[in-house]
Amino acid sequence: MTTYAAPGTAGSIVSYESRYDHFIGGEYVPPAKGQYFENPTPVTGQPFTEIARGTADDVERALDAAHGAAPAWGKTSVAERATILNRIADRMEANLEALAVAESWENGKAVRETLNADIPLAIDHFRYFAGAIRAQEGGVSEIDGDTIAYHFHEPLGVVGQIIPWNFPILMATWKLAPTLAAGNAVVLKPAEQTPASIHVLMSLISDLLPPGAVNIVNGFGVEAGKPLASNRRISKIAFTGETTTGRLIMQYASENLIPVTLELGGKSPNIFFDDVASADDAYYDKALEGFTMFALNQGEVCTCPSRALIQAGIYDRFLSDVTERTKAVKQGHPLDTETMIGAQASNDQYEKILSYIDIGKQEGARVVTGGEPADLGGELSGGYYVQPTIFEGHNKMRSFQEEIFGPVVSVAKFDDYDDAIKTANDTLYGLGAGVWSRNGNVAYRAGRDIQAGRVWVNNYHAYPAHAAFGGYKQSGIGRENHSMMLDHYQQTKNLLVNYSENKLGFF
Protein backbone atom coordinates (compact mmCIF):
# COMPACT_ATOMS: atom_id res chain seq x y z
CA MET A 1 0.00 0.00 0.00
CA THR A 2 1.21 3.49 -0.86
CA THR A 3 -0.27 6.88 -0.29
CA TYR A 4 1.27 9.43 -2.63
CA ALA A 5 2.09 12.84 -1.22
CA ALA A 6 -0.18 15.56 -2.56
CA PRO A 7 1.37 17.50 -5.45
CA GLY A 8 3.43 20.38 -4.19
CA THR A 9 3.94 18.92 -0.70
CA ALA A 10 7.15 17.40 0.66
CA GLY A 11 7.98 14.09 -0.95
CA SER A 12 5.54 14.46 -3.85
CA ILE A 13 6.67 13.16 -7.23
CA VAL A 14 4.91 15.97 -9.06
CA SER A 15 4.06 19.61 -8.50
CA TYR A 16 1.74 22.02 -10.18
CA GLU A 17 2.83 25.55 -10.99
CA SER A 18 1.07 28.22 -8.96
CA ARG A 19 -0.45 29.61 -12.16
CA TYR A 20 -0.98 28.47 -15.76
CA ASP A 21 -1.30 30.78 -18.74
CA HIS A 22 -2.52 29.73 -22.18
CA PHE A 23 -0.21 27.53 -24.23
CA ILE A 24 -0.12 29.24 -27.63
CA GLY A 25 2.44 28.94 -30.41
CA GLY A 26 4.75 26.81 -28.29
CA GLU A 27 4.94 29.19 -25.33
CA TYR A 28 2.94 30.33 -22.36
CA VAL A 29 0.99 33.51 -22.97
CA PRO A 30 -0.97 35.48 -20.35
CA PRO A 31 -4.68 35.97 -20.99
CA ALA A 32 -5.57 39.12 -22.92
CA LYS A 33 -7.84 40.37 -20.15
CA GLY A 34 -5.35 39.41 -17.43
CA GLN A 35 -7.89 37.38 -15.49
CA TYR A 36 -7.39 34.01 -13.76
CA PHE A 37 -9.64 31.58 -11.92
CA GLU A 38 -8.92 29.27 -8.99
CA ASN A 39 -8.70 25.54 -9.51
CA PRO A 40 -9.69 23.46 -6.47
CA THR A 41 -8.90 19.79 -5.94
CA PRO A 42 -12.06 17.77 -5.32
CA VAL A 43 -10.01 15.71 -2.84
CA THR A 44 -10.23 18.48 -0.22
CA GLY A 45 -12.10 21.29 -1.96
CA GLN A 46 -9.04 23.56 -1.63
CA PRO A 47 -7.55 25.51 -4.58
CA PHE A 48 -4.08 24.39 -5.68
CA THR A 49 -3.35 26.55 -8.74
CA GLU A 50 -4.89 29.31 -10.81
CA ILE A 51 -5.71 29.21 -14.48
CA ALA A 52 -5.92 31.74 -17.28
CA ARG A 53 -9.50 32.83 -17.91
CA GLY A 54 -9.57 32.86 -21.69
CA THR A 55 -11.73 35.02 -23.90
CA ALA A 56 -12.30 35.52 -27.63
CA ASP A 57 -9.02 37.45 -27.99
CA ASP A 58 -7.06 34.50 -26.64
CA VAL A 59 -8.90 32.09 -28.93
CA GLU A 60 -8.04 34.31 -31.93
CA ARG A 61 -4.41 34.41 -30.90
CA ALA A 62 -4.36 30.61 -30.61
CA LEU A 63 -5.99 30.30 -34.02
CA ASP A 64 -3.34 32.61 -35.49
CA ALA A 65 -0.67 30.28 -34.11
CA ALA A 66 -2.49 27.17 -35.34
CA HIS A 67 -2.95 28.60 -38.83
CA GLY A 68 0.72 29.56 -38.83
CA ALA A 69 1.74 25.99 -38.02
CA ALA A 70 -0.83 23.99 -40.00
CA PRO A 71 0.56 24.24 -43.55
CA ALA A 72 4.04 22.96 -42.69
CA TRP A 73 2.78 20.46 -40.13
CA GLY A 74 0.31 19.04 -42.64
CA LYS A 75 3.11 18.46 -45.10
CA THR A 76 5.42 16.57 -42.74
CA SER A 77 5.86 12.93 -43.64
CA VAL A 78 3.77 10.39 -41.82
CA ALA A 79 7.01 8.86 -40.55
CA GLU A 80 7.94 12.18 -38.96
CA ARG A 81 4.56 12.60 -37.30
CA ALA A 82 4.53 8.99 -36.13
CA THR A 83 7.97 9.45 -34.60
CA ILE A 84 6.75 12.48 -32.66
CA LEU A 85 3.70 10.59 -31.40
CA ASN A 86 5.91 7.70 -30.30
CA ARG A 87 8.23 10.08 -28.51
CA ILE A 88 5.27 11.65 -26.72
CA ALA A 89 4.26 8.17 -25.61
CA ASP A 90 7.79 7.41 -24.40
CA ARG A 91 7.96 10.61 -22.35
CA MET A 92 4.59 9.86 -20.81
CA GLU A 93 5.64 6.32 -19.98
CA ALA A 94 8.82 7.55 -18.32
CA ASN A 95 6.68 9.91 -16.20
CA LEU A 96 3.65 7.69 -15.75
CA GLU A 97 3.50 7.92 -11.97
CA ALA A 98 3.83 11.72 -11.94
CA LEU A 99 1.06 12.11 -14.52
CA ALA A 100 -1.14 9.65 -12.64
CA VAL A 101 -0.77 11.53 -9.35
CA ALA A 102 -1.35 14.90 -11.04
CA GLU A 103 -4.51 13.57 -12.71
CA SER A 104 -5.86 12.05 -9.52
CA TRP A 105 -5.28 15.26 -7.57
CA GLU A 106 -7.07 17.42 -10.11
CA ASN A 107 -10.00 15.13 -10.89
CA GLY A 108 -10.47 13.33 -7.55
CA LYS A 109 -10.30 9.85 -9.05
CA ALA A 110 -8.49 6.98 -7.35
CA VAL A 111 -4.81 6.87 -8.26
CA ARG A 112 -4.94 3.12 -8.90
CA GLU A 113 -7.12 3.95 -11.91
CA THR A 114 -4.85 6.67 -13.29
CA LEU A 115 -1.83 4.37 -12.77
CA ASN A 116 -3.43 1.36 -14.42
CA ALA A 117 -5.95 2.79 -16.86
CA ASP A 118 -6.01 6.51 -17.70
CA ILE A 119 -2.32 7.10 -18.33
CA PRO A 120 -1.36 3.68 -19.81
CA LEU A 121 -4.34 3.96 -22.18
CA ALA A 122 -3.27 7.47 -23.21
CA ILE A 123 0.27 6.25 -23.87
CA ASP A 124 -1.01 3.38 -25.97
CA HIS A 125 -3.32 5.72 -27.85
CA PHE A 126 -0.42 7.83 -29.12
CA ARG A 127 1.41 4.65 -30.17
CA TYR A 128 -1.66 3.26 -31.87
CA PHE A 129 -2.15 6.34 -34.03
CA ALA A 130 1.58 6.52 -34.74
CA GLY A 131 1.17 3.06 -36.28
CA ALA A 132 -2.23 3.69 -37.85
CA ILE A 133 -1.13 6.75 -39.82
CA ARG A 134 1.84 4.89 -41.29
CA ALA A 135 -0.33 1.96 -42.27
CA GLN A 136 -2.99 4.16 -43.85
CA GLU A 137 -3.21 3.84 -47.64
CA GLY A 138 -4.81 6.08 -50.19
CA GLY A 139 -6.53 4.59 -53.21
CA VAL A 140 -5.94 4.13 -56.92
CA SER A 141 -8.93 3.35 -59.11
CA GLU A 142 -8.54 2.55 -62.77
CA ILE A 143 -11.54 4.22 -64.38
CA ASP A 144 -10.53 3.10 -67.87
CA GLY A 145 -7.31 2.43 -69.72
CA ASP A 146 -6.38 6.12 -69.78
CA THR A 147 -8.01 7.46 -66.63
CA ILE A 148 -6.97 6.99 -63.04
CA ALA A 149 -8.64 8.25 -59.86
CA TYR A 150 -6.17 8.82 -57.08
CA HIS A 151 -7.55 9.24 -53.57
CA PHE A 152 -5.39 11.03 -51.05
CA HIS A 153 -5.97 11.74 -47.38
CA GLU A 154 -5.38 15.38 -46.59
CA PRO A 155 -5.61 17.09 -43.20
CA LEU A 156 -8.53 19.41 -42.45
CA GLY A 157 -6.21 22.18 -41.33
CA VAL A 158 -7.07 23.71 -37.98
CA VAL A 159 -9.59 22.02 -35.72
CA GLY A 160 -11.23 22.95 -32.42
CA GLN A 161 -11.65 20.48 -29.57
CA ILE A 162 -13.50 20.80 -26.27
CA ILE A 163 -12.46 18.26 -23.67
CA PRO A 164 -14.51 16.86 -20.75
CA TRP A 165 -13.41 16.68 -17.11
CA ASN A 166 -13.93 12.99 -16.33
CA PHE A 167 -10.67 11.71 -17.88
CA PRO A 168 -8.84 14.98 -18.55
CA ILE A 169 -5.62 13.57 -20.01
CA LEU A 170 -7.09 10.47 -21.65
CA MET A 171 -9.97 12.34 -23.30
CA ALA A 172 -7.57 15.02 -24.54
CA THR A 173 -5.42 12.21 -25.95
CA TRP A 174 -8.39 10.57 -27.69
CA LYS A 175 -8.80 13.78 -29.62
CA LEU A 176 -5.18 14.91 -29.95
CA ALA A 177 -3.55 11.69 -31.14
CA PRO A 178 -5.65 11.15 -34.30
CA THR A 179 -5.72 14.88 -35.03
CA LEU A 180 -1.95 15.20 -34.94
CA ALA A 181 -1.43 11.90 -36.75
CA ALA A 182 -3.62 13.19 -39.57
CA GLY A 183 -1.56 16.38 -39.78
CA ASN A 184 -3.90 18.98 -38.30
CA ALA A 185 -3.13 21.82 -35.94
CA VAL A 186 -5.47 22.18 -32.99
CA VAL A 187 -6.86 24.68 -30.54
CA LEU A 188 -8.02 22.76 -27.53
CA LYS A 189 -10.07 23.94 -24.58
CA PRO A 190 -9.89 21.75 -21.47
CA ALA A 191 -12.86 21.59 -19.11
CA GLU A 192 -12.93 24.39 -16.54
CA GLN A 193 -13.23 21.79 -13.75
CA THR A 194 -9.96 20.13 -14.80
CA PRO A 195 -7.87 22.71 -16.64
CA ALA A 196 -4.44 22.02 -15.16
CA SER A 197 -3.30 18.40 -15.59
CA ILE A 198 -2.91 18.79 -19.35
CA HIS A 199 -0.30 21.46 -18.63
CA VAL A 200 1.68 18.92 -16.60
CA LEU A 201 1.56 16.77 -19.73
CA MET A 202 2.60 19.70 -21.92
CA SER A 203 5.54 20.41 -19.63
CA LEU A 204 6.82 16.95 -20.56
CA ILE A 205 6.12 16.93 -24.30
CA SER A 206 5.89 20.48 -25.65
CA ASP A 207 9.48 20.46 -26.95
CA LEU A 208 8.60 17.50 -29.18
CA LEU A 209 5.95 19.42 -31.13
CA PRO A 210 6.40 22.25 -33.62
CA PRO A 211 5.15 25.55 -32.13
CA GLY A 212 1.49 26.11 -32.93
CA ALA A 213 0.58 22.49 -33.69
CA VAL A 214 -1.12 22.21 -30.30
CA ASN A 215 -2.56 25.28 -28.60
CA ILE A 216 -4.41 25.23 -25.30
CA VAL A 217 -6.79 27.99 -24.28
CA ASN A 218 -8.30 27.62 -20.84
CA GLY A 219 -11.42 29.27 -19.60
CA PHE A 220 -15.17 28.95 -19.27
CA GLY A 221 -17.49 27.58 -21.90
CA VAL A 222 -19.37 30.80 -22.53
CA GLU A 223 -16.20 32.93 -22.62
CA ALA A 224 -13.69 30.65 -24.38
CA GLY A 225 -15.60 27.59 -25.62
CA LYS A 226 -18.17 29.56 -27.57
CA PRO A 227 -15.65 31.78 -29.45
CA LEU A 228 -13.83 28.58 -30.41
CA ALA A 229 -16.85 26.47 -31.39
CA SER A 230 -18.47 29.29 -33.36
CA ASN A 231 -15.25 30.43 -35.02
CA ARG A 232 -15.04 30.79 -38.79
CA ARG A 233 -11.38 29.79 -38.73
CA ILE A 234 -11.83 26.17 -37.65
CA SER A 235 -12.49 23.35 -40.09
CA LYS A 236 -14.09 21.05 -37.59
CA ILE A 237 -15.24 21.00 -33.97
CA ALA A 238 -15.16 17.99 -31.66
CA PHE A 239 -16.98 18.00 -28.34
CA THR A 240 -17.59 15.57 -25.52
CA GLY A 241 -20.30 16.59 -23.08
CA GLU A 242 -24.07 16.76 -22.93
CA THR A 243 -26.98 17.09 -25.31
CA THR A 244 -27.92 20.77 -24.98
CA THR A 245 -24.36 21.98 -25.51
CA GLY A 246 -24.01 19.38 -28.27
CA ARG A 247 -27.00 20.91 -30.06
CA LEU A 248 -25.66 24.42 -29.54
CA ILE A 249 -22.30 23.41 -31.01
CA MET A 250 -24.04 21.86 -34.03
CA GLN A 251 -25.98 25.07 -34.41
CA TYR A 252 -22.76 27.10 -34.47
CA ALA A 253 -21.15 24.58 -36.83
CA SER A 254 -24.12 24.88 -39.20
CA GLU A 255 -23.45 28.62 -39.44
CA ASN A 256 -19.93 27.85 -40.65
CA LEU A 257 -20.78 24.65 -42.56
CA ILE A 258 -18.19 22.58 -40.75
CA PRO A 259 -18.39 19.00 -39.50
CA VAL A 260 -18.84 18.09 -35.86
CA THR A 261 -18.16 15.00 -33.85
CA LEU A 262 -20.13 14.74 -30.63
CA GLU A 263 -19.99 12.30 -27.75
CA LEU A 264 -22.91 13.09 -25.50
CA GLY A 265 -23.25 10.35 -22.94
CA GLY A 266 -25.55 7.46 -22.28
CA LYS A 267 -27.55 5.44 -19.83
CA SER A 268 -25.93 2.13 -20.45
CA PRO A 269 -27.71 -1.15 -19.69
CA ASN A 270 -25.72 -4.03 -18.23
CA ILE A 271 -27.68 -7.27 -18.79
CA PHE A 272 -27.18 -10.42 -16.72
CA PHE A 273 -28.91 -13.54 -18.06
CA ASP A 274 -29.86 -16.48 -15.80
CA ASP A 275 -26.98 -18.69 -16.89
CA VAL A 276 -24.46 -16.24 -15.39
CA ALA A 277 -25.13 -17.96 -12.05
CA SER A 278 -25.17 -21.55 -13.31
CA ALA A 279 -21.86 -22.16 -11.53
CA ASP A 280 -20.13 -20.42 -8.66
CA ASP A 281 -16.84 -20.06 -10.47
CA ALA A 282 -14.35 -17.53 -11.79
CA TYR A 283 -16.81 -16.38 -14.48
CA TYR A 284 -19.51 -15.67 -11.87
CA ASP A 285 -16.97 -13.68 -9.88
CA LYS A 286 -16.10 -11.75 -13.05
CA ALA A 287 -19.78 -10.97 -13.62
CA LEU A 288 -20.09 -9.58 -10.08
CA GLU A 289 -17.15 -7.33 -10.85
CA GLY A 290 -18.80 -6.39 -14.16
CA PHE A 291 -21.85 -5.16 -12.24
CA THR A 292 -19.70 -3.21 -9.77
CA MET A 293 -17.98 -1.38 -12.64
CA PHE A 294 -20.68 1.30 -12.11
CA ALA A 295 -18.38 2.64 -9.38
CA LEU A 296 -15.35 2.95 -11.67
CA ASN A 297 -14.19 6.56 -11.87
CA GLN A 298 -16.91 7.43 -9.29
CA GLY A 299 -19.47 6.67 -12.01
CA GLU A 300 -18.25 9.65 -14.01
CA VAL A 301 -18.00 7.74 -17.26
CA CYS A 302 -20.26 8.30 -20.27
CA THR A 303 -20.63 4.52 -20.49
CA CYS A 304 -21.19 3.96 -16.76
CA PRO A 305 -23.24 0.71 -16.55
CA SER A 306 -25.89 2.61 -14.65
CA ARG A 307 -28.86 0.35 -15.46
CA ALA A 308 -28.38 -3.25 -14.39
CA LEU A 309 -30.99 -5.63 -15.79
CA ILE A 310 -31.02 -9.00 -14.03
CA GLN A 311 -33.05 -12.04 -15.16
CA ALA A 312 -35.77 -13.21 -12.77
CA GLY A 313 -34.31 -16.68 -12.14
CA ILE A 314 -31.18 -15.34 -10.46
CA TYR A 315 -32.44 -11.91 -9.44
CA ASP A 316 -32.46 -12.26 -5.64
CA ARG A 317 -29.23 -14.16 -5.37
CA PHE A 318 -27.34 -11.99 -7.85
CA LEU A 319 -28.57 -8.74 -6.31
CA SER A 320 -27.52 -9.97 -2.89
CA ASP A 321 -24.04 -10.94 -4.16
CA VAL A 322 -23.46 -7.67 -6.02
CA THR A 323 -24.66 -5.71 -3.02
CA GLU A 324 -22.01 -7.42 -0.94
CA ARG A 325 -19.43 -6.66 -3.64
CA THR A 326 -20.51 -3.02 -3.74
CA LYS A 327 -20.29 -2.69 0.04
CA ALA A 328 -16.68 -3.88 -0.24
CA VAL A 329 -15.76 -0.94 -2.48
CA LYS A 330 -13.20 0.98 -0.47
CA GLN A 331 -13.76 4.71 -0.44
CA GLY A 332 -10.90 6.88 0.70
CA HIS A 333 -8.12 9.26 -0.13
CA PRO A 334 -7.70 9.23 -3.91
CA LEU A 335 -3.90 9.15 -3.63
CA ASP A 336 -3.98 5.93 -1.57
CA THR A 337 -3.40 3.01 -3.94
CA GLU A 338 -5.85 0.87 -1.93
CA THR A 339 -8.68 3.32 -2.57
CA MET A 340 -11.24 2.06 -5.08
CA ILE A 341 -13.48 5.12 -5.28
CA GLY A 342 -12.40 8.73 -4.79
CA ALA A 343 -14.10 12.11 -4.96
CA GLN A 344 -16.64 13.43 -7.46
CA ALA A 345 -14.96 15.98 -9.71
CA SER A 346 -16.68 19.16 -8.49
CA ASN A 347 -19.15 20.53 -6.00
CA ASP A 348 -21.91 21.03 -8.56
CA GLN A 349 -21.45 17.45 -9.75
CA TYR A 350 -21.73 16.29 -6.13
CA GLU A 351 -24.89 18.36 -5.63
CA LYS A 352 -26.41 17.05 -8.84
CA ILE A 353 -25.83 13.42 -7.85
CA LEU A 354 -27.49 14.03 -4.49
CA SER A 355 -30.45 15.73 -6.23
CA TYR A 356 -30.83 12.59 -8.37
CA ILE A 357 -30.68 10.32 -5.36
CA ASP A 358 -33.41 12.50 -3.88
CA ILE A 359 -35.78 12.20 -6.87
CA GLY A 360 -35.00 8.48 -7.04
CA LYS A 361 -36.22 8.06 -3.47
CA GLN A 362 -39.30 10.23 -4.14
CA GLU A 363 -40.20 8.07 -7.13
CA GLY A 364 -40.15 5.02 -4.88
CA ALA A 365 -36.88 3.43 -5.90
CA ARG A 366 -35.58 1.28 -3.03
CA VAL A 367 -32.10 2.10 -1.77
CA VAL A 368 -30.39 -1.28 -1.55
CA THR A 369 -27.12 0.22 -0.34
CA GLY A 370 -25.59 3.69 -0.12
CA GLY A 371 -27.82 6.61 -1.04
CA GLU A 372 -26.01 9.24 1.00
CA PRO A 373 -23.02 11.55 0.79
CA ALA A 374 -19.88 10.21 2.45
CA ASP A 375 -17.92 12.25 4.99
CA LEU A 376 -14.45 10.76 5.12
CA GLY A 377 -13.24 13.04 7.92
CA GLY A 378 -10.16 15.20 8.35
CA GLU A 379 -9.06 17.23 5.33
CA LEU A 380 -11.29 15.05 3.12
CA SER A 381 -14.40 16.51 4.78
CA GLY A 382 -14.15 19.44 2.36
CA GLY A 383 -14.08 17.07 -0.63
CA TYR A 384 -16.96 15.71 -2.69
CA TYR A 385 -17.65 12.08 -1.77
CA VAL A 386 -20.77 10.01 -2.44
CA GLN A 387 -21.44 6.43 -1.27
CA PRO A 388 -21.69 3.79 -4.01
CA THR A 389 -25.44 3.41 -4.38
CA ILE A 390 -27.72 0.67 -5.68
CA PHE A 391 -31.32 1.60 -6.45
CA GLU A 392 -33.99 -0.99 -7.20
CA GLY A 393 -36.91 0.17 -9.31
CA HIS A 394 -38.27 0.20 -12.86
CA ASN A 395 -37.14 1.63 -16.15
CA LYS A 396 -39.62 4.54 -16.28
CA MET A 397 -38.08 6.17 -13.23
CA ARG A 398 -35.87 9.18 -13.82
CA SER A 399 -32.97 7.43 -12.10
CA PHE A 400 -33.16 4.86 -14.93
CA GLN A 401 -33.40 7.44 -17.67
CA GLU A 402 -30.98 10.26 -17.00
CA GLU A 403 -27.28 10.03 -16.74
CA ILE A 404 -26.49 10.76 -13.08
CA PHE A 405 -22.74 10.67 -13.69
CA GLY A 406 -22.15 9.38 -10.20
CA PRO A 407 -21.66 6.03 -8.45
CA VAL A 408 -25.31 5.10 -8.74
CA VAL A 409 -26.73 2.03 -10.45
CA SER A 410 -30.44 1.37 -10.93
CA VAL A 411 -31.45 -2.29 -10.94
CA ALA A 412 -34.52 -3.88 -12.53
CA LYS A 413 -35.69 -7.44 -13.15
CA PHE A 414 -36.51 -8.94 -16.56
CA ASP A 415 -38.32 -12.14 -17.49
CA ASP A 416 -37.01 -13.21 -20.87
CA TYR A 417 -34.79 -12.18 -23.78
CA ASP A 418 -37.36 -9.95 -25.47
CA ASP A 419 -38.13 -8.19 -22.21
CA ALA A 420 -34.41 -7.55 -21.66
CA ILE A 421 -33.85 -6.04 -25.09
CA LYS A 422 -37.00 -3.95 -24.92
CA THR A 423 -35.98 -2.44 -21.58
CA ALA A 424 -32.34 -2.02 -22.64
CA ASN A 425 -33.42 -0.04 -25.70
CA ASP A 426 -36.04 2.02 -23.87
CA THR A 427 -33.71 5.01 -23.46
CA LEU A 428 -32.79 8.17 -25.33
CA TYR A 429 -29.18 7.10 -25.51
CA GLY A 430 -27.10 4.38 -27.11
CA LEU A 431 -23.47 4.69 -26.17
CA GLY A 432 -22.51 1.58 -24.21
CA ALA A 433 -24.04 -1.67 -23.02
CA GLY A 434 -22.97 -4.88 -21.35
CA VAL A 435 -24.16 -8.44 -21.99
CA TRP A 436 -23.33 -11.29 -19.64
CA SER A 437 -24.14 -14.89 -20.61
CA ARG A 438 -22.30 -18.20 -20.87
CA ASN A 439 -24.31 -18.93 -24.02
CA GLY A 440 -22.49 -17.48 -27.00
CA ASN A 441 -25.59 -17.42 -29.17
CA VAL A 442 -27.60 -15.43 -26.65
CA ALA A 443 -24.73 -13.04 -26.01
CA TYR A 444 -24.17 -12.48 -29.74
CA ARG A 445 -27.86 -11.86 -30.50
CA ALA A 446 -28.24 -9.49 -27.57
CA GLY A 447 -25.12 -7.62 -28.61
CA ARG A 448 -26.58 -7.11 -32.07
CA ASP A 449 -30.09 -6.22 -30.87
CA ILE A 450 -29.04 -3.54 -28.40
CA GLN A 451 -29.00 -0.10 -30.02
CA ALA A 452 -25.65 1.11 -28.79
CA GLY A 453 -22.32 1.86 -30.40
CA ARG A 454 -20.28 -0.24 -27.98
CA VAL A 455 -21.56 -3.50 -26.50
CA TRP A 456 -19.21 -5.27 -24.12
CA VAL A 457 -19.81 -9.01 -24.04
CA ASN A 458 -18.63 -10.75 -20.87
CA ASN A 459 -16.51 -7.75 -19.94
CA TYR A 460 -17.05 -4.06 -19.27
CA HIS A 461 -15.19 -0.75 -19.30
CA ALA A 462 -12.33 -1.86 -21.56
CA TYR A 463 -11.15 0.92 -23.89
CA PRO A 464 -8.52 -0.40 -26.27
CA ALA A 465 -7.37 2.09 -28.91
CA HIS A 466 -8.17 -0.39 -31.67
CA ALA A 467 -11.94 -0.64 -30.96
CA ALA A 468 -14.36 2.03 -32.25
CA PHE A 469 -16.22 3.99 -29.62
CA GLY A 470 -19.26 6.20 -30.15
CA GLY A 471 -22.98 6.54 -29.86
CA TYR A 472 -26.25 5.55 -31.42
CA LYS A 473 -29.35 7.71 -30.95
CA GLN A 474 -28.85 10.84 -28.83
CA SER A 475 -25.42 9.72 -27.65
CA GLY A 476 -23.69 11.55 -30.44
CA ILE A 477 -22.26 11.62 -33.92
CA GLY A 478 -19.05 10.00 -35.10
CA ARG A 479 -16.59 7.66 -33.47
CA GLU A 480 -13.42 7.88 -31.45
CA ASN A 481 -10.62 5.33 -31.24
CA HIS A 482 -9.76 2.93 -34.07
CA SER A 483 -8.08 3.93 -37.33
CA MET A 484 -11.50 4.89 -38.72
CA MET A 485 -11.17 7.90 -36.43
CA LEU A 486 -8.65 9.32 -38.88
CA ASP A 487 -11.53 9.88 -41.32
CA HIS A 488 -13.00 12.42 -38.91
CA TYR A 489 -9.82 14.50 -39.20
CA GLN A 490 -9.13 14.18 -42.91
CA GLN A 491 -10.49 15.34 -46.21
CA THR A 492 -10.51 13.10 -49.26
CA LYS A 493 -8.67 14.58 -52.22
CA ASN A 494 -9.50 12.96 -55.50
CA LEU A 495 -7.08 13.59 -58.32
CA LEU A 496 -8.74 12.44 -61.54
CA VAL A 497 -5.99 12.08 -64.14
CA ASN A 498 -6.30 11.36 -67.80
CA TYR A 499 -3.25 9.93 -69.56
CA SER A 500 -4.66 10.04 -73.11
CA GLU A 501 -3.33 12.38 -75.82
CA ASN A 502 -6.70 12.50 -77.58
CA LYS A 503 -9.53 14.95 -77.12
CA LEU A 504 -13.10 13.85 -76.40
CA GLY A 505 -14.37 15.45 -79.63
CA PHE A 506 -17.14 17.56 -77.99
CA PHE A 507 -15.68 20.95 -78.90
Binding site: F220, R247, G265, L428
Partner: protein, 125 residues
Protein backbone atom coordinates in the same frame (compact mmCIF):
# COMPACT_ATOMS: atom_id res chain seq x y z
CA UNK B 1 -56.52 24.54 -10.93
CA UNK B 2 -53.64 26.10 -12.81
CA UNK B 3 -50.46 24.20 -12.32
CA UNK B 4 -46.86 25.06 -13.09
CA UNK B 5 -44.12 22.69 -14.15
CA UNK B 6 -41.23 24.97 -13.26
CA UNK B 7 -40.24 27.29 -10.45
CA UNK B 8 -37.17 29.17 -9.31
CA UNK B 9 -35.62 29.58 -5.85
CA UNK B 10 -35.05 33.13 -4.51
CA UNK B 11 -31.26 32.63 -4.78
CA UNK B 12 -31.51 31.53 -8.40
CA UNK B 13 -33.86 34.46 -9.11
CA UNK B 14 -31.25 36.89 -7.75
CA UNK B 15 -28.64 35.34 -10.02
CA UNK B 16 -30.98 35.59 -13.02
CA UNK B 17 -31.50 39.29 -12.30
CA UNK B 18 -27.77 39.87 -12.25
CA UNK B 19 -27.20 37.82 -15.42
CA UNK B 20 -29.98 39.72 -17.19
CA UNK B 21 -28.22 42.99 -16.31
CA UNK B 22 -25.23 41.84 -18.32
CA UNK B 23 -26.76 39.66 -21.02
CA UNK B 24 -30.30 40.91 -21.49
CA UNK B 25 -33.33 38.57 -21.68
CA UNK B 26 -32.57 34.95 -20.76
CA UNK B 27 -33.74 31.39 -21.46
CA UNK B 28 -33.13 27.90 -20.10
CA UNK B 29 -32.75 24.61 -21.92
CA UNK B 30 -32.59 21.51 -19.75
CA UNK B 31 -29.75 19.25 -20.80
CA UNK B 32 -29.38 15.49 -20.73
CA UNK B 33 -26.49 13.09 -21.10
CA UNK B 34 -23.01 13.04 -19.75
CA UNK B 35 -20.70 15.36 -17.84
CA UNK B 36 -22.89 18.37 -17.12
CA UNK B 37 -25.97 16.69 -18.52
CA UNK B 38 -29.14 16.84 -16.44
CA UNK B 39 -28.24 20.46 -15.67
CA UNK B 40 -30.26 23.46 -16.81
CA UNK B 41 -28.35 25.62 -19.30
CA UNK B 42 -28.94 29.36 -19.19
CA UNK B 43 -28.41 31.38 -22.39
CA UNK B 44 -29.24 34.82 -23.73
CA UNK B 45 -32.78 34.50 -25.13
CA UNK B 46 -32.61 33.16 -28.68
CA UNK B 47 -28.99 32.01 -28.44
CA UNK B 48 -30.12 28.39 -28.36
CA UNK B 49 -32.45 27.55 -31.18
CA UNK B 50 -35.53 25.67 -30.04
CA UNK B 51 -37.88 24.01 -32.47
CA UNK B 52 -40.47 21.34 -32.99
CA UNK B 53 -38.42 18.83 -31.06
CA UNK B 54 -38.62 20.89 -27.86
CA UNK B 55 -41.27 21.41 -25.20
CA UNK B 56 -41.83 24.79 -23.53
CA UNK B 57 -42.24 23.87 -19.86
CA UNK B 58 -43.21 27.33 -18.72
CA UNK B 59 -41.82 30.74 -17.89
CA UNK B 60 -40.02 31.72 -14.71
CA UNK B 61 -41.35 34.94 -13.23
CA UNK B 62 -38.54 36.98 -11.77
CA UNK B 63 -39.21 40.54 -10.56
CA UNK B 64 -37.50 43.19 -12.62
CA UNK B 65 -36.65 41.11 -15.71
CA UNK B 66 -38.45 39.54 -18.64
CA UNK B 67 -40.05 36.14 -18.03
CA UNK B 68 -37.46 33.38 -18.53
CA UNK B 69 -38.75 30.51 -20.68
CA UNK B 70 -37.66 26.98 -19.78
CA UNK B 71 -37.34 24.38 -22.53
CA UNK B 72 -36.56 20.68 -22.76
CA UNK B 73 -36.27 18.30 -25.67
CA UNK B 74 -39.56 16.50 -26.30
CA UNK B 75 -37.91 13.10 -26.10
CA UNK B 76 -36.48 13.86 -22.68
CA UNK B 77 -39.81 15.32 -21.57
CA UNK B 78 -41.42 11.93 -22.14
CA UNK B 79 -39.39 10.63 -19.22
CA UNK B 80 -39.59 13.77 -17.07
CA UNK B 81 -43.22 14.82 -17.47
CA UNK B 82 -44.38 13.46 -14.12
CA UNK B 83 -41.98 15.71 -12.20
CA UNK B 84 -41.95 19.37 -11.20
CA UNK B 85 -38.66 21.20 -11.61
CA UNK B 86 -37.25 23.99 -9.48
CA UNK B 87 -34.19 25.81 -10.69
CA UNK B 88 -31.74 26.38 -7.84
CA UNK B 89 -28.12 27.46 -7.72
CA UNK B 90 -25.10 25.94 -5.96
CA UNK B 91 -21.40 26.82 -5.80
CA UNK B 92 -19.56 25.06 -8.58
CA UNK B 93 -18.20 25.23 -12.03
CA UNK B 94 -20.27 23.55 -14.69
CA UNK B 95 -18.87 23.39 -18.15
CA UNK B 96 -21.04 23.85 -21.18
CA UNK B 97 -21.83 27.37 -22.30
CA UNK B 98 -24.22 28.31 -19.50
CA UNK B 99 -23.89 31.97 -18.57
CA UNK B 100 -23.40 31.64 -14.83
CA UNK B 101 -20.30 29.40 -14.79
CA UNK B 102 -17.73 32.24 -14.70
CA UNK B 103 -19.36 33.57 -11.52
CA UNK B 104 -18.37 30.32 -9.75
CA UNK B 105 -21.89 28.99 -9.37
CA UNK B 106 -24.04 26.53 -11.24
CA UNK B 107 -27.76 26.27 -11.82
CA UNK B 108 -29.15 22.97 -10.57
CA UNK B 109 -32.52 21.24 -10.97
CA UNK B 110 -34.39 20.18 -7.85
CA UNK B 111 -37.22 17.79 -8.68
CA UNK B 112 -40.36 16.60 -7.00
CA UNK B 113 -43.20 14.39 -8.15
CA UNK B 114 -46.26 16.23 -9.43
CA UNK B 115 -49.17 16.06 -6.99
CA UNK B 116 -52.38 14.28 -7.95
CA UNK B 117 -54.03 17.68 -8.55
CA UNK B 118 -51.19 18.77 -10.80
CA UNK B 119 -51.25 15.49 -12.70
CA UNK B 120 -54.95 16.01 -13.33
CA UNK B 121 -54.37 19.59 -14.42
CA UNK B 122 -51.82 18.40 -17.01
CA UNK B 123 -54.10 15.57 -18.15
CA UNK B 124 -51.65 12.91 -16.99
CA UNK B 125 -54.23 10.85 -15.10
Amino acid sequence: MTAERVAVTPKAADLLRSLADTHGPLMFHQSGGCCDGSAPMCYPAGEFRTGGSDVHLGDLTVDGIDPVPVWMSASQFEYWQHTHLTIDVVPGRGSGFSLEAPVGVRFLIRSRLLTDDELRAFGLV
